[in-house]
């Protein structure tokens, strides 16, 4: 007798922490991957209903359409300040900001530095795609030397524009920062490593260990003028040499508690 029943085995599905809304992101953009990693982590840690997100200004302004938690929408650059206000009033909640490089490293540099310096017990997901995506691809504080953007048409040069900022390295110098790492979203291996870092960052907050930040090197194929695949290669070949991946700050308490 032949067994006629087909056994369905779900191996991959949308995490409940993601809504089923189609995203507005461009083809090839890695925001969707970053969103999904956050959602998977929140679900695995059973934190979806205990988390408040703070969206920022930029392409991720509508992050709250996709990540299925309580959310607020901050002014440009001010997400860490807003997150501070929320976390201090609802310390039992997990509070995270989701910020791009223009938002965090340019207009919001003050807020991010001081949130880290205070050891504010929040988690920051920092998307570094080396340009202002939402406004059409202008020069960002993270734009690489020589990189052409709509506001550096001849390429970034140090004499005119100064140098790109390495955020993770800089914030790691602050005593209040507990966990500061850089990962990349350009291939499956690195995506897995990014997810692990995001998970650690939320665990740092859960254990009250202080400020955590995961910088994610990301692509912006449309504004870079590349195909999605070319953009992934461009990231690996150009961004990683200037923005090396790695753990820039793992405070002793984090290492001891989480075995990082």
């Amino acid at each position: 007798m032949l067994e006629m029943t087909a056994v369905e085995n779900v191996v991959y599905q949308r995490p409940q922490a993601l809504t089923d809304a189609p995203t507005h992101y461009c083809p090839g953009c890695t925001h969707g991957i970053a969103h999904r990693l956050i959602a998977e982590v929140l679900e695995e840690l059973n934190l979806t209903e205990r988390t408040i997100g703070v969206a920022s200004v930029g392409c991720s302004v509508f992050a709250y359409h996709y990540i299925n938690t309580d959310f607020v929408e901050a002014a440009h650059g001010r997400a860490p300040a807003m997150a501070t206000g929320i976390k201090r009033l609802v310390p039992q909640a997990m509070v995270f900001t989701y910020q791009g490089d223009g938002d965090l490293a340019s207009i919001g540099m003050t807020e991010i530095v001081h949130a880290a310096a205070r050891g504010e017990n929040i988690t920051v997901i920092f998307i570094n795609n080396a340009n202002y995506g939402m406004t059409g691809g202008q020069l960002a504080p993270t734009t690489l030397l020589g990189q052409k953007t709509t506001s550096s048409p001849n390429g970034r040069n140090a004499a005119q524009h100064g140098y790109p900022i390495r955020v993770a390295e800089m914030l790691a110098t602050l005593e209040g920062a507990a966990y500061v790492v850089r990962r990349s979203l350009h291939d499956p291996t690195n995506i897995r490593k990014a997810k692990k870092a995001i998970r650690t960052a939320f665990e740092v907050q859960k254990h009250g260990l202080g400020f955590s930040l995961v910088e994610l090197l990301s692509t912006c194929s449309v504004n870079w003028g590349l195909t999605p695949t070319e953009a992934l290669h461009w990231l690996a070949e150009n961004m990683i040499p200037y923005y090396p991946l790695g753990d820039y700050k793992v405070a002793p308490a984090v290492a001891a508690t989480l075995n990082v």
């Binding site: 209903e49 205990r50 309580d70 002014a75 001010r78 300040a81 009033l89 807020e111």
Partner: protein, 370 residues
């Protein structure tokens, strides 16, 4: 409770604490530092939240975040700091969360000075940040009145999901007066159906001020306008002194109103039928009541510590019915009662026209004095 001698800024801070303030976020700036300093001692000892922010920009956005949790929150600053907060205030207005703000005004524009001024009237009363909204603005004229207005500011902000600003100047912040403080209210975080927090057992909540679809934004604008009309209808407050038979009606708010009251009393001693109208809510402005008074007054004299900002509102209310005159001191100068008395006497002599520009006449008189 017995009356005690309190410094204005500290009394305001303690009144807020007793009104159930859960969290304060601020940044040092003269002449309001004592509010921040008082909070830095008081709130931690009560187990409440105090954060000295890295700037006014951050302070107002911390307040914004905290307000989104439904907590009773406030910040305070002085003129240049309030300018920095305008961005956050606009977002707060657009998100429709309640926030209390204290502005202890100083001389401006720019860095100006740290002396008492009323130069920020237009900035806060006419909206402040970008977009279409109105904050409620309360203008005390004494330390006691400031103390009394603090719980009201919280109640109004929460009732209407709006910004309530207590607007005073450096002299009120710095002076000491006998005051009676209210009893300590217990902390009680309200259960708002919009507040973010722990979402267990309920649908998730999103608070934002972005409405990309213009028709949606228009609905928000209309909702804010309707709420403002309700506030205008229900929350106008003012004080009247000697107005029953007054021929010369002096109008002043805050410290200018208080000094003007001394001048009105001096005028009464000299047989001049003068009175004082002092708006307590400078936003919503008591237009209707002033228009009523204009039906029986002979002339108005507006006294301000600015270049005639509230003057425009008085002229709007009086609507050309009788002459409106102006007397101002600027740049952090507080007028003496004698100066205002001379103006009252001049207005009482009559012979003024209702149809030309009071600012121009005032500036012409200044020229003569120089």
């Amino acid at each position: 409770m017995a009356r005690e001698l309190w410094k204005g800024n500290e009394a305001i801070a303690e009144a807020a604490v007793r009104a159930g303030l859960e969290a304060y976020f601020g940044y040092p700036i003269t002449p309001q530092n004592e509010i921040l300093e008082w909070m830095s001692r008081r709130l931690p000892e009560l187990g409440r939240v105090f954060v000295q922010a890295e700037a006014e920009l951050a302070a107002i956005n911390m307040v914004y975040g905290a307000a989104c949790t439904g907590a009773r929150v406030m910040t305070s600053s002085s003129s240049p700091g309030i300018s920095l907060m305008m961005e956050g205030l606009s977002y707060i207005a657009g998100t429709e969360v309640p926030v209390v703000l204290v502005n202890v005004m100083r001389g401006g524009p720019g860095l100006g000075n740290i002396a008492p001024s009323q130069g920020d009237y237009n900035q806060i009363c006419k909206g402040g940040g970008h977009g279409d909204y109105h904050p409620i603005v309360l203008a005390p004229a004494s330390v006691q009145e400031a103390v009394d207005l603090m719980p009201l500011a919280f109640d109004l902000a929460e009732k209407y999901l709006t910004i309530a600003c207590v607007l005073l100047d450096g002299s009120l912040g710095q002076m000491m007066e006998p005051v009676e403080l209210p009893p300590m209210r217990p902390l009680q975080r309200k259960e708002y159906p919009w507040a973010v927090g722990i979402a267990e057992g309920r649908a998730r909540r999103v608070l934002t001020s972005i409405y990309l679809e213009p028709l949606d934004e228009e609905q928000v604008n209309l909702r804010l306008l309707e709420r403002w009309r309700t506030i205008q209808a229900n929350e106008v407050r003012y004080k009247e002194y000697y107005l029953d038979d007054a021929e010369v009606v002096v109008v002043g708010f805050g410290t200018a109103g208080r000094v003007a009251l001394s001048a009105v009393r001096l005028a009464r001693q000299q047989g001049i039928r003068a009175g004082l109208f002092r708006p307590v809510t400078v936003s919503p402005y008591p237009y209707a009541r002033l228009a009523e008074i204009a039906r029986r007054a002979r002339a108005f004299l507006v006294v301000e510590m600015n270049a005639g900002q509230m003057l425009e509102d008085v002229r709007l209310a009086v609507n050309g019915r009788v002459p409106v005159e102006f007397y101002g001191r600027l740049g952090g100068v507080v007028p003496f009662p004698d100066e205002i008395l001379q103006e009252i006497k001049r207005v009482a002599r009559g012979g003024l026209k209702a149809d030309d520009d009071p600012l121009e006449r005032w500036m012409a008189r200044l020229e003569m004095r120089r």
